[in-house]
């Protein structure tokens, strides 16, 4: 759905239909011909608005769903799905999921064990693309989450006793399935970006989904 073309196409169709009816009543054949040509154009623009979709988006959605299922299965089998700690390690830009807090430096990408504690470390390469600009975390997250990825409509950040609360307001329907999946990529993104901005490792404290608002609370690991 492409709203801009939906409105444009609708307007073109309405105007051309009115002009066609007028030319039929008055009997100006040239205007009728131009109206019919415009009507065809309007229908094409309207259809563009209704059915437009980037060809690879659906493929990537399927791919990420399948990948999400695979990673969920790995987490489930290793007992990490129910009670797990999420920690962003800034040294390698990775997110480590483990049953107990583990030392970032002892982990490497992929599945492994540190002091008999299983962990899964996933890359956060996407964060590398976004240079830290300004000195406000809220503005930084807004720029990327709203401006670039269109994840939600508004972002709010509250700092309370060393804990950060990031609130994503009105998360889009297309993004909601990602938030609800066990491998919540929005969580990765928020934690990764925040870690980069704060230049420190982070640990997820809790998260909550209230209606279409997604709340993530995390703390800086020293």
């Amino acid at each position: 759905m492409y709203f801009k073309y939906l409105v444009s196409g609708g307007l073109i169709v309405i105007i051309s239909v009115i002009t066609a009816i007028y030319s039929l009543l008055v009997g100006i054949e040239v205007v009728l011909g131009v109206s019919l040509a415009t009507l065809v154009l309007g229908i094409v623009v309207l259809t563009t608005g209704l059915t437009y979709g980037e060809p690879l988006v659906e493929l990537f959605k399927t791919f990420s769903r399948d990948l999400s299922r695979l990673v969920s299965k790995v987490l489930e089998d290793s007992g990490l799905l129910s009670s797990s700690k999420f920690r962003v390690c800034l040294n390698d830009l990775k997110l480590v999921i483990s049953a107990k807090p583990v030392n970032c430096l002892s982990t490497s990408l992929g599945f492994g064990l540190v002091d008999d504690v299983p962990y899964l470390a996933m890359p956060l390469d996407v964060v590398k693309d976004f240079e830290v600009v300004g000195n406000d975390l809220r503005d930084y997250l807004r720029e990327i989450l709203i401006g670039r990825f269109k994840v939600c409509r508004d972002v709010n950040v509250l700092v309370d006793d060393g804990n950060y609360l990031v609130e994503l307001r009105s998360v889009g329907d297309d993004v909601m399935w990602l938030v609800k999946s066990p491998i919540n990529y929005v969580r990765f993104l928020v934690l990764g970006l925040s870690a980069k901005f704060l230049s420190s490792d982070l640990e997820l404290v809790n998260e909550d989904l209230i209606g279409s608002n997604y709340l993530i609370r995390f703390k800086v690991v020293t």
């Binding site: 492409y2 073309y5 054949e29 040239v30 009728l32 011909g33 131009v34 019919l36 040509a37 415009t38 065809v40 154009l41 229908i43 094409v44 623009v45 259809t47 563009t48 059915t51 437009y52 979709g53 980037e54 060809p55």
Partner: protein, 79 residues
């Protein structure tokens, strides 16, 4: 990308319709037939447009319209 496709199609249709009006073409079906032809030629040449937009319904509708126009003109000649 899609913006460019729509603008190009619009330019082509507007140019063709302007030329028809300029030469004094009065038959409304001629305008419609030329627009339909431009649509099919453009979407065949620029196939990326078809990848992004589902045009099946329009294709069917416009082919039927074009066939009716041609059929009517043939009937007029035969009659």
């Amino acid at each position: 990308m899609i913006e460019r496709d729509v603008i190009l199609l619009t330019i082509l249709v507007v140019t063709a319709v302007s030329m028809l009006a300029y030469v004094g073409e009065l038959r409304p079906d001629a305008y419609l037939a030329i627009t339909i032809l431009i649509y099919f030629i453009y979407t065949s040449v620029n196939y990326g447009f078809r990848f992004r937009v589902n045009l099946k319904f329009i294709d069917a509708s416009l082919i039927i319209t074009f066939a009716l126009i041609v059929g009517y003109r043939v009937y007029e000649v035969i009659k």
